[in-house]
């Protein structure tokens, strides 16, 4: 409970002061809330003294009214301080993390991470924003009510006060038991939720296979087991909470009964007036209500804490180029000098050295997983090499900020991202100051002018969510137009890009050729026939460069490249037929 308060305060940062002030106000509001009961007590004193008279009607009304006005003011200040804070803190944190993203390493924005990151900012932060302050309010008013209960009782009589204090202490102990159950269940539930999501993913992604393979029975059973397990866990959790919650509430039942009995008993002994007994009765049934409510929020607080933990982890992602400087490059050759790199335990590159001269073409060839993509990624500081160095234009890339390094590179990979904006603006991304003519020129070079013109709004056509209204090949060409406009001197190309849309392969190929003209080109090659013009081909095997040279050199060498080349030639001439492979 207190941990939760601390958590929210830490999250609130500069606004924590406001929250503390609001807690203080809440305390005073709690005090003022009891004024009507004190008025009732005075009235009952008069009743038992038999001095009650007509003017007391107006007196009671006016005093209570005044207390309500005061309460209104305090409450208003309280609500404002808190809810305002929530929206402000939420906005501030979103902006802060957005600012940080700019400096996160490129390698951070992988498919899986993108999902996590967005769910933290849109989900976890919003949850904390929407419910954090309400729950904080509940906790504060709950705790304040307990304090007031004990203080009030002490003012009345030490015996009832003692009963109240004992009751509150017992209740707090019982509450800890509730929290323990929540804590124990939280990871289980999270796991269960993940399992359900997994089952759902499998079911929806696999639905065509499920139907095709007549797996309706088996698949339906798999998913319905996941659904039922999820339901059972959820119910188990609620039921597991039942007894601890009951015990918690019973503490108050006991306190109320004890306080009332002690009051009755003292009246019986003549130690307490009837008016006080009435006041205690009016007071005691109401005062614990906010504290009883504490119990219903524990699960939600746990969810929130977990969300804030995720958010904080996000903020602590190390920034790769913290020591980098913005440098201007004069030449654009790429040099690997004895580079060794690994992520995780396995070494993925071992002592790789090569020079890609300015305006030359270097092709990386090798089996999938050989390390050729890693080489390309090291050039743009997706990661940093552990040993050796990667230099661009004579400057070690580790001395540069990622931003200044990226200014000199274009990347054409299979995965394309277009913004939810017009086609023109998507292309303009390559150079913000480009004129319309320059954009059309780039589009023509990238072989997308014709299909763009055929669209209902031409260059002003909106690209749907993530670019969904265009075909794969069209998106690819728009992204190439963007790169052509940027006109960076170094180009990293995954050759498979050309094959994403076999019907449009030719257009993409032509677009790529426009882009790579006169650039320092590094190609990750799959179809060896495409790299016959390469100035050097590097054959990568298990993280090492095993052969290097031009196509003709390597074919003549009769080594690994020759073998790959022969396999490719055979695959290229394959024809499907009933007689089996050629």
């Amino acid at each position: 409970m207190l941990k939760f308060i601390a958590r929210i305060l830490r999250f609130a940062g500069a606004d924590a002061g406001k929250l503390k002030l609001s807690a203080l106000i809440s305390f005073f509001e709690g005090l003022v809330q009891n004024v009507p009961i004190i008025v009732a007590w005075l009235i009952f004193v008069k009743i038992t003294d038999q001095t009650l008279a007509e003017p007391d009607i107006a007196m009671a009304f006016l005093v209570i009214l005044a207390s309500l006005v005061l309460r209104w003011v305090l409450r208003y200040a309280f609500v404002r301080l808190q809810s305002d804070g929530a929206a402000r803190v939420g906005g501030r944190e979103r902006i802060r993390i957005g600012d940080l993203f700019k400096r996160f390493p490129m390698s951070y924005f992988t498919e899986g991470n993108i999902g996590n990151v967005t769910s933290v900012i849109t989900g976890d932060l919003s949850f904390a924003e929407d419910y954090g302050m309400t729950k904080l309010e509940d906790v504060i008013t709950g705790l304040v009510s307990l304090f007031i209960a004990c203080a009030f009782m002490l003012w009345v009589d030490w015996r009832t006060a003692l009963a109240s204090v004992i009751g509150c202490v017992l209740a707090m102990l019982a509450l800890q038991a509730v929290e323990k159950v929540t804590k124990r269940h939280a990871p289980v539930r999270q796991e269960e939720a993940a399992r359900l999501t997994g089952a759902v993913l499998e079911y929806t992604e696999g639905i065509s296979v499920i139907k095709a393979l007549n797996m309706a029975g088996a698949a339906a059973k798999r998913i319905s087991t996941a659904i039922d397990d999820n339901r059972r866990r959820a119910i188990d959790f609620e039921q597991g909470m039942l007894r601890p919650i009951n015990r918690y509430l019973d503490c108050y039942a006991l306190t109320i009964a004890a306080v009332l009995f002690l009051s009755f008993w003292q009246y019986f002994n003549g130690e307490m007036s009837l008016a006080v007994v009435v006041m205690v009765a009016l007071f005691v049934f109401r005062v614990y209500a906010p504290a009883m409510g504490l119990v219903s929020g524990t699960a939600m607080m746990r969810i929130m804490e977990a969300g804030l933990d995720r958010y904080e982890r996000l903020r602590q992602v190390p920034i790769i180029d913290a020591d980098g400087k913005n440098k201007t490059l004069e030449s654009f050759d790429v040099v690997f000098d004895d580079v060794t790199f690994s992520y995780g335990d396995s070494e993925t590159l071992k002592q790789v050295s090569f020079t890609a001269k300015e305006r030359s073409m270097t092709a990386l060839v090798g089996a999938s997983g050989s390390g050729k993509t890693t080489i390309a990624n090291l050039i743009v500081r997706f990661w940093d090499a552990q040993e050796g160095s990667v230099k661009v234009g004579g400057v070690d890339v580790r001395e540069m900020t990622c931003d200044s390094l990226l200014r000199y590179t274009s990347m054409v990979f299979q995965h394309v991202y277009l913004f939810n904006d017009t086609i023109e603006n998507n292309i303009r991304f390559g150079s913000p100051d480009a004129t319309h003519e320059e954009i059309v020129d780039a589009a023509q070079k990238a072989r997308c002018h014709n299909f763009i013109e055929a669209l209902p709004d031409g260059y002003q056509t909106m690209v749907g969510e993530g670019g969904s209204t265009l075909s794969g090949g069209e998106k690819q060409r728009v992204s190439i137009a963007r790169a052509i406009l940027k006109d960076a001197p170094i180009v990293l190309l995954d050759e498979a890009t050309a094959s994403v849309d076999p019907d449009n392969e030719r257009h993409i190929q032509a677009a790529i050729n426009e882009l790579v003209r006169d650039k320092t080109l590094i190609v990750i090659a799959h179809r060896l026939s495409t790299i016959r013009r390469a100035d050097q081909i590097l054959v990568v095997d298990e993280g090492r460069i095993v052969e290097r040279g031009t196509h003709d050199d390597l074919v003549a060498l009769c080594g690994a490249y020759r073998k790959l080349w022969e396999r490719r030639q055979k695959a290229k001439s394959w024809r499907i037929a009933h007689k089996g492979s050629v």
Binding site: P36, T118, G198, K211, A281, G580
Partner: protein, 581 residues
């Protein structure tokens, strides 16, 4: 309420839990009121001429304790029943979605969107969970408390009851104002919230591109604007709501404001006994808190309805009609004057074709010509608009879906693997297959080699969607599965645009095995792979414009010549070469 009942009906046989919950919660509220009456009784005992005895006081206090504990117990049991009801309802909805997907045609699922289905399964239902499992049970409890306490007040003294009602009635004014204002603002607030979320997703997903093009500042500015707009929109709403919120919070709990003066008046006039007065005050003060809580539940009903309607929109999608004819005896595939449209414009126009058994038919054409659509009509991905697709002379719509699927193997580039062992994944092709048959299929599909190298061989679990395998390995496993299935009709859709170019030859080898002796339909992009096909169907704009073997088409069709030429060029592509070569 009607909507609520409809939603709860997804709980099926657990629906009676609702009555159980209401009964238990009603009882619990009744027991929470009894102690007030006991206090009243004690006070009247005190005022009696004959003073009560200590044991009697002890009994009364004991009675209160018992009532309060009983109340806690019954409330727990009632909440338990309503939680169970809620979770059964949610599970029921999820099961309905799963079931619905089996009944919809694949084309309709695709049109509805897999993302939307996933959203229904998870997010939309989870959002309902918060309301259904937590707000509703507590809402019912508070509603019952409010009603029962009010009835009890009238039962005790109707004048005091009316006095107690006054602040409640007054409190309705700010409540109503707040809600009216809320409905007015909701639209633009939701719009700002959605715009912000979209912007966040775009900012994060596009970060790689943003960095590459050095557009951090511009993109961040847009992001920041969206975040700030949402914040300001929220603050404006809060600001307007604060006054109302404060007002009803204060007014609804101000029972004594009217009750006490009225009580004094009545007492002075001798119209009310002291114990009755106290009892009325006790009851009056017990009404405020449930009233406030009730207010917070009111907006949840339209939300619940809104969220349920999103999910129910899926249930309203049409089911695929089911035939019941037995297995066809022969397996030639015939398109009989087939016309098909996704929406309004036809994408397949009047196509008539016969694909004989033991032959390979290739569908070729430019992108958008309808090749893939035509192939998918055989497996009822969609149903035709006019004409019929027949297997062995029987309309595919009249064949029982399970039988139809048993007749066809469909292999595409992005087939799906389940998160089970390699062996189980292959066995899905034929559940009765022995291990030896599985190994044989895997060997024929060129998988045995890489499977043997995996940590647990055939028992290796492939991970979610087969993530532990490369694209080519996944594809070969899917081919092994199809080989095991051994269906008489084989559709290869884009199967030759390889996911794993380094291992193209192995995939080709696997494909060669699967087509042997079957009625084969291949959607072809790389024309060189189908030059030996028995029949090539050239599609243009949804029509079959030419038909024949490769040499025949090359001799007579200018369009085919063009496609062939383009294919040859793209096969000969040199990176960095001249585009006009």
């Amino acid at each position: 309420m009607k909507d609520f009942m409809r939603i709860v009906s997804y709980a099926d046989d657990k629906k009676p839990l609702l009555a159980q919950a209401v009964a238990l919660l009603t009882l619990s509220v009744l027991f929470s009121v009894v102690p007030f009456f006991l206090v009243g009784t004690v006070l009247s005992g005190f005022l009696d001429t004959k003073a009560p005895e200590l044991w009697w006081l002890l009994c009364m206090a004991g009675g209160m304790l018992a009532c309060l504990m009983l109340k806690n117990f019954l409330e727990g049991a009632g909440l338990d029943a309503s939680h169970r009801l809620a979770y059964h309802t949610l599970a029921g909805m999820r099961r309905r979605i799963a079931d619905k997907m089996l009944k919809m045609s694949l084309g309709d699922i695709q049109a509805y969107g897999k993302e939307a289905v996933k959203k229904n399964f998870c997010e939309n239902i989870e959002e309902m969970e918060l309301i259904l499992a937590h707000a509703i049970p507590e809402g019912i409890a508070n509603l019952l408390t409010f009603v029962i306490v009010m009835v009890a007040m009238f039962f005790v003294d109707w004048r005091m009851a009316l006095a107690g009602m006054a602040p409640i009635a007054l409190g309705l004014v700010p409540t109503a104002l707040m809600m009216i204002d809320g409905f007015k603002r909701m639209g633009s607030w939701y719009a700002a919230s959605e715009a912000m979320n979209k912007r966040i997703i775009e900012y994060v997903s596009g970060m790689e591109v943003i960095k590459v093009f050095g557009q951090q500042d511009r993109s961040f500015r847009k992001y920041r604007e969206a975040v700030e707009r949402y914040r300001d929109e929220t603050l404006a709403w809060y600001k307007a709501a604060f006054i109302h919120m404060t007002s009803y919070n204060v007014v609804l709990t101000a029972a004594l404001l009217v009750m006490l003066p009225v009580g004094i008046g009545l007492y002075l006039g001798g119209a009310i006994a002291l114990d009755t007065l106290v009892l009325s005050l006790l009851l009056g003060m017990a009404m405020g808190v449930p009233a406030i809580r009730l207010i917070s539940f009111v907006p949840l009903f339209p939300q619940l309805k809104y969220k349920a309607s999103k999910i129910e929109g899926m249930f309203a999608q049409p089911d695929m009609p089911q035939g019941n004819k037995p297995k066809p005896q022969s397996h030639d595939v015939a398109f009989d004057n087939v016309t098909f449209a996704y929406h309004d414009s036809d994408v397949i126009k009047n196509i008539s074709l016969v694909l004989p058994e033991n032959s390979i038919t290739a569908l070729v054409g430019e992108s958008g010509a309808g090749k893939s659509t035509l192939a998918k009509l055989i497996m009822r991905y969609w149903d035709v608009r006019e004409g019929a697709v027949k297997i062995g002379g029987i309309d595919v719509r009249e064949i029982a879906p399970a039988t139809l699927m048993g007749t066809i193997s469909y292999v595409s580039q992005d087939d799906f693997l389940f998160d089970v062992s390699v062996k189980e994944n292959i066995r899905y092709g034929k559940p009765t297959a022995t291990d030896a048959e599985i190994v044989a299929a895997a060997t024929a599909a060129q998988c045995d080699g890489f499977i043997q190298k995996m940590d647990n061989g055939y028992d290796t679990v492939v991970g979610v969607s087969g993530e532990k395998l490369s694209g080519g390995q996944r594809q070969r496993l899917c081919i092994a599965r199809a080989l095991l299935k051994d269906a008489p009709v084989v559709i290869l859709d884009e199967a030759t645009s390889f996911a794993d170019p380094e291992n193209e030859d192995k995939i080709q080898e696997a494909l060669s095995r699967i087509v042997a002796g079957k009625t084969v339909v291949i959607v072809a992009h790389r024309l060189s792979t189908i030059v030996d096909a028995d029949n090539i169907v050239l599609l243009e704009g949804g029509r079959a414009v030419a038909l024949g073997r490769h040499e025949e088409l090359l001799a007579r069709s200018p369009l085919y010549q063009r496609l062939w030429q383009a294919h040859r060029e793209s096969m000969d592509w040199d990176i960095g070469g001249d585009n006009n070569a």
